[in-house]
């Protein structure tokens, strides 16, 4: 079964880290929500599109050794929960550095990479991963 339609609907947001900001309490969310969990009904109709800068820090991390078959060529690789500078937390792969170099508090920024594909003849999925922010 192809995953194409589900992925496709979220493409623009996943490509560009676009979430929402609650117009009532200013909390930001990624992925988008229809209602702010803190404000409830007060936030209805006030959840506005919000683009994250892609910069953040590693909040927690792990190294994956037993990978999903699509990631077989990349293991071992680092996965981290990233605290974006605007506030929301997202899970992402850290690439372009050794998996064991990744540490809590490390500065990262988003990059555009291939996330997977529907086999050899299916569509290719793209989106964000993170790289170490080098000064």
């Amino acid at each position: 079964m192809t995953k194409t339609p589900r992925f496709w609907r979220e493409n623009k947001n996943r490509y560009n880290l676009i979430g929402v900001k609650c117009g009532s309490c200013n909390a930001v969310y990624f992925p988008s929500r229809i209602i702010c969990p803190d404000c409830g009904r007060k936030s209805m109709g006030k959840m506005d599109k919000f683009k994250f800068s892609g910069r953040g820090t590693v909040y927690s991390n792990t190294v994956v050794h037993e990978a999903h078959e699509q990631y077989e060529m990349q293991k071992p690789y680092a996965i981290a929960l990233i605290e974006l500078e605007e506030g929301a937390r997202v899970l992402g792969q850290i690439v372009d550095c050794e998996p064991y170099e990744v540490q809590i508090g490390m500065k990262v920024k988003s990059t555009f990479r291939k996330l997977g594909q529907d086999g050899k003849s299916g569509t290719i999925y793209y989106g964000y991963k993170f790289v170490r922010e080098r000064e």
């Binding site: 078959e69 555009f112 050899k120 569509t123």
Partner: protein, 351 residues
């Protein structure tokens, strides 16, 4: 109307392999090959990188340097011979990833190593005829040579993007012209993973004939001499060809030095002249004149006479990394890792 480059951005994947490492695996004198080609190392795309991701990173770097809303981009053309899909444009994904959709026209180009410069020419025409305000032209590739083939020592990965427009132009394109013939020096048929080439045939009647003819026609049309240019950049399938063609035309090593990246990254195909030109724009000053000639097998050359304007002093070059800064972030890998990253090893799950 002054048409030219409003911004530019580059991207080169981080991984490198040395010719001696390739030679070690195939029982060839890799060091000797590298010396002959003047290639010290070549860039390799990571397992999650392709022409789409390289093009997006280059385009985003270009957009970071200017305050131009992506909605004002009326056309995106991506030139490559390694588009990930045979049918389904790279450009649509790039357009969505820089938020330029939906009011624009998009198409992918292929003309071996000069598809990126063909994209620049198309954007110039559309801007010049007032059909669009800005056009984005990208040249990028993740080229591969068959294992053990001479091409494996040079075929590499990288790309650059140019925002073409008529406002705040940092480098005006005074003149562009092309020289094209039907020459079967290099090709890849549908469904084939690796390209084929005419061996020695790729030199004289192909690369040299087209670049020299295009360059002479361009100098003639502009009424200029090689010494009128501060910089020159020629297609660089290896280090020797551009040096030889520069000498044939009367350009010095100093003029081609800045744009000659092939010794450090290999032949980036559609990315080659775009990246060389980007490296020149990284350091160019107002009044500098640039001479650029791309070459694509098949075969043809696109030539550009470019003049850097005063606007480059107000241009936010620092908002994105320079080509040489990008090149400095690198990691050498062995052949086994290279084979794994580039799909030269087949897994059962890929069927």
């Amino acid at each position: 109307m002054e048409i030219g480059i409003v911004s530019y951005g580059a991207y080169i994947p981080r991984f490198r392999i040395l010719p001696e490492e390739i030679g070690r695996v195939w029982g060839l004198d890799g060091k000797g090959f590298g010396k002959g080609l003047m290639i010290e190392q070549k860039s390799i795309a990571g397992p999650d990188e392709d022409v789409v991701t390289i093009s997006v990173e280059a385009a985003r770097n270009a957009m970071k340097r200017v305050d131009v809303s992506p909605e004002k981009i009326g056309a995106i053309y991506v030139g490559s011979e390694s588009h990930p899909y045979v049918v389904k444009p790279t450009g649509t994904i790039v357009a969505e990833a820089i938020e330029a959709t939906p009011d624009l026209t998009v198409a992918d180009y292929e003309f071996a190593c000069k598809a990126g410069t063909a994209a620049i020419q198309t954007c110039m025409g559309l801007v010049g005829s007032d059909m669009i305000e800005y056009g984005l032209a990208i040249g990028s590739d993740t080229s591969q040579g068959a294992p053990g083939d001479a091409l494996e020592f040079s075929a590499s990965a990288g790309g650059a993007a140019f925002l073409i427009g008529s406002k705040d132009v940092i480098a005006k394109i005074n003149t562009t012209l092309s020289y094209t013939t039907d020459t079967p020096d290099f090709w890849r048929r549908e469904g084939q993973m690796y390209p084929s080439h005419g061996g020695r045939f790729t030199g004289e009647p192909a690369y040299f004939k087209h670049i020299v003819s295009c360059a002479k026609n361009l100098l003639g049309k502009c009424g200029t001499k090689p010494e009128d240019y501060k910089y020159a950049v020629f297609h660089q399938p290896n280090g020797k060809f551009p040096q030889r063609v520069a000498k044939m035309l009367g350009f010095s090593n100093e003029q081609i030095e800045t744009g000659l990246l092939v010794p450090q990254i290999g032949n980036t195909y559609s990315g080659a002249v775009p990246l060389g030109l980007s490296a020149i724009l990284d350091e160019a000053e107002p009044g500098d004149r640039i001479f650029a000639i791309a070459y694509g097998s098949g075969a043809g050359s696109d030539g550009f006479d470019i003049a850097v304007t005063d606007a480059i002093t107000r241009f936010n070059r620092k908002a994105a990394p320079t080509v040489r800064e990008i090149m400095a972030n690198m990691k050498a890998i062995d052949y086994a890792t290279y084979a794994k990253y580039r799909g030269k090893i087949k897994l059962s799950c890929e069927e």
